[in-house]
Symmetry: C2
């Protein structure tokens, strides 16, 4: 059965997904029986198109590349234009909503409202944006369950690296006592460069030039991005309603070359560690730079790579290392959720 | 619904599983709705008992600890004794067969026959023994499919670390071009100790004293154990019918202190790498010690730990690090297969 998609937003992640769906359509159909169709796109700035029988992906990508405006998508019998995000979510024939709109990190809006609309319309919602999961997991997961649809967000913690799906499929039944990791590639890149001798400011500029860090790097370097991921892990993997305000958060902007040298002298390495821990006092989360020993698997994670270690009672420590960002990787994080929704798997 | 188990063999792995089922019965029922019951055990040396309403796990473990003989399990109305493995597989009311018998690594027997009997009797079969998967994957997976039952073997590659389930659930849809890893904890321990200055022979003796290496260490140190895992990955993850005889295999017994020093001088580290690779020439596998650069995530894997790196087109390199052996970990590898069978998940 063809899985019909409506994309809310058509920026980097949405286009990345569209490219994968175009390039791999035959392989996905022939090897795993997955067939997807984009029936609608609604983007606040780039316009909106909808056709119940599907849009042509190559044409969509071509139009966006050439004019940046979906109004230039060619006319066709039955084509609708200009539907806003809520109408697109509620009134198209999509099976799944791909929520990749530009979202406020403080409020999680409009993504949270998009999820609510999707679930109450009986549609699955899949996203890589942290907002809805970090700020409204309890409400949204219950709403999805009540409407018998799925809430997919693999990409919110480590992009296409399965920080969420791995424990849900392969560690269930264990008591996961701790998850700790390097959840922010930008800061790990900066720390790696500082270890090579650069000052913080120079390393940050370099990260900005390479596109790892934003012009305003606050969310990365002060640990807020990692904090959101800690909150997601607490809620989804540990099943505990931890909130952002519960998580003490310290970034790396105060670290100096002298701090780096001290770690090296002690045979250690600074890493910005996000941690969520469950013990007799309940759940707790934190984000802070830590000097970790070189024997810790997280110590060898260099550059923009991410990693997570799960400690459990039955499986011992298990570490997962991989990309934490990237156009193709994040597009894939959406695809893997859609594939598993279509095949009825976690 | 209660999932009924028959254990064929009651050695370390079978007892490890029984302990977990006993200790975690309430948690597994309350948190994930999983309830298992051991209805039968048939062990060539320790005897056999069967009761369609279930055996008492604490008593089973107690009897084995005290006398080593299941004949000492107390009498009870409806209890059957002395059923051999095939009768136990075919005629008990078990839903799943836990195949943990002592199996010949050359022929994979009697485990392969046990799997055949399980599948044709409409029962799932779960195991940590490599034989059936490494030697007869094509036949057995087809037989399981035809009979609408499951063939579970997470534990065959990296014990409870999900080297198999992770790619099947989280990387499907990607083109996995290569899997390479450290699949043998004994040799990785020996190499780690050699790097500390021990000779090969001394490091091997130390591994034997710690119980990592067998009295006859051939299967580990000559790479045959890793070779079986390479074959499993080729068949299961790459979908290619690679055989053991297709895999060139070199162990670590020829490595000298001079070799270790050379690697250190070059900023590298020896690791026994199992590799399976897919390119325009088809599939190929190999096992050999390699000097890998310290920037490779596999270089930092020390001691008896295992690790695997998957290279794919959409997700970038993803590395999974964890235990590759252990009583609890391997017992868990059986449990996680059973949980996923019971909940209808991969």
């Amino acid at each position: 059965m063809i899985h019909k998609l409506a994309l809310i937003g058509f920026g980097t992640v949405g286009q990345g997904l569209a490219e994968i769906l175009l390039d791999k359509a035959d392989t996905l159909r022939d090897t795993i029986g997955f067939e997807a169709q984009i029936v609608a796109i609604s983007d606040l700035l780039k316009g909106a198109v909808y056709h119940p029988d599907g849009l042509d992906i190559a044409t969509l990508l071509d139009v966006i590349k050439k004019t940046g405006n979906l109004d230039d998508y060619p006319d066709q019998l039955g084509l609708e234009r200009g539907w806003d995000s809520l109408k697109t979510i509620q009134e198209t024939n999509a099976d799944s909503i791909v929520e990749v709109s530009y979202t406020d990190i403080e409020t999680g809006q409009p993504a949270i409202d998009h999820c609510r609309a999707a679930f109450t319309s009986g549609k699955h919602a899949v996203m890589s944006n942290k907002g809805p999961v970090a700020l409204a997991y309890e409400e949204l997961s219950r709403l999805a369950e009540e409407n018998n649809v799925r809430f997919g967000f693999e990409g919110t913690v480590m992009s296409g690296t399965p920080a969420i799906r791995m424990p849900l499929t392969a560690l269930t039944g264990t008591d996961i006592r701790e998850a700790r990791g390097i959840f922010n590639g930008t800061t790990n890149y900066i720390l790696t460069e500082m270890e090579k001798g650069l000052d913080y400011e120079v390393a940050l500029q370099q990260a900005q030039q390479l596109g790892y860090a934003e012009a305003d790097p606050t969310a990365d370097v002060e640990g807020y991005d990692a904090m959101g991921k800690v909150v997601i892990l607490a809620n989804v993997i540990m099943g505990q309603p931890l909130k952002k305000s519960d998580v003490p958060c310290k970034g790396i902007s105060h670290l100096t070359s002298a701090d780096i040298e001290q770690a090296t002298r002690e045979g250690k390495r600074w890493k910005l560690i996000g941690r969520v821990k469950k013990d007799e006092n309940g759940i707790s989360g934190s984000v802070a730079p830590e000097m970790i020993p070189m024997t810790d698997p997280l110590a060898s994670i260099m550059g923009a790579t991410n990693a997570i270690t799960y400690e459990s009672d039955l499986a011992g420590p298990i570490t997962l290392v991989g990309a934490g960002a990237g156009r193709v990787e994040t597009g894939f994080s959406i695809l893997i959720d859609l594939i598993n929704i279509a095949r009825g798997q976690i």
